[in-house]
Symmetry: C2
């Protein structure tokens, strides 16, 4: 077990799974003659984030969390996506960024204090392993699941396997 194994592959599998879920959303919208932007702007309650924002935040948790653990300043990706293709490109760009990080730097971060922005003015401080286990991973899966739940609520035919993605499992 290592910090890098508990982070990078989980993020990559989750973001790629979300991209496939968005493909199913696209096919569903086409079949029902729904403008895809209706799905992208859908939310489960008026003061919750819409689908596009849920995807952006899931991707940013992976990008920012991994970068901070690797001791790298996370690049800023602008939140300008308005189409499914753009949202999927955001996911692909995030996965590509994750591949640039040095796993050994992340492995050495368990005991280092990580400082990160919390809202517009505050900062959070956590030990590296706590930051991964109790902040980045819960937040990442929260927004990944929220995106999935919005599409499920809209009737897109997706199931748990679509959410889990290409995990290293052998079935008998």
């Amino acid at each position: 077990m290592s910090m890098s194994k508990a982070s990078l592959p989980a993020f990559e599998i989750g973001l790629n799974a979300l991209s496939c879920v968005l493909d199913k959303a696209e096919a569903y919208a086409a079949g029902k003659k729904i403008d895809p932007s209706v799905l992208l702007n859908f939310r489960l309650f008026p003061d919750m984030f819409a689908l596009t924002r849920q995807v952006q935040i899931a991707a940013d948790q992976a990008k920012n969390g991994s970068a901070r653990l690797a001791g790298v300043e996370p690049p800023r990706f602008e939140d300008t996506e308005t189409t499914l293709d753009q949202v999927k490109a955001r996911l692909a760009k995030t996965v590509a960024f994750l591949k640039t990080l040095d796993p050994s730097k992340i492995d050495a971060s368990a005991d280092r204090e990580i400082t990160f922005p919390l809202g517009p003015t505050n900062k959070g401080h956590m030990k590296g392993d706590d930051y991964l286990n109790h902040f980045v991973l819960p937040n990442f899966y929260f927004h990944l699941t929220a995106a999935y739940a919005i599409l499920r609520h809209c009737g897109v035919d997706i199931g748990k396997r679509d959410f889990m993605g290409a995990i290293p499992i052998k079935m008998t």
Copy 2:
């Protein structure tokens, strides 16, 4: 970083947070004169699980995942809850069980093959660290978030901090 730190405290914090979220659901139901069983039976789509089942599965992912990593046969908790108090008791019973597990046994499980039931007839096989990172944690947070999203969709006044729970963070 260790297998036990990546599992036990995350499950305990998450399950306790969910119990507090259910307290807010109870207060909301009382204030709106809604029968709490309406919330417990609410679902985001007809073929998705209702709230009670989401909570049961989140708890079982924590119980079964941790037990298998510790090399212990997981106890079976019957799915008989019909009230908010009973559902919260299920969470408390699960947290109490987690405390009986030996963290050093879980720490030694990263390279062991874990075999677990997948549906009624199949079995899954994964290396211990893969099982935690790519099966138990995603499933746990998926059902935790699904429970939260159902209540959020029903209008319960909860936010991200309620979902995250009592995490070890210092704010400045």
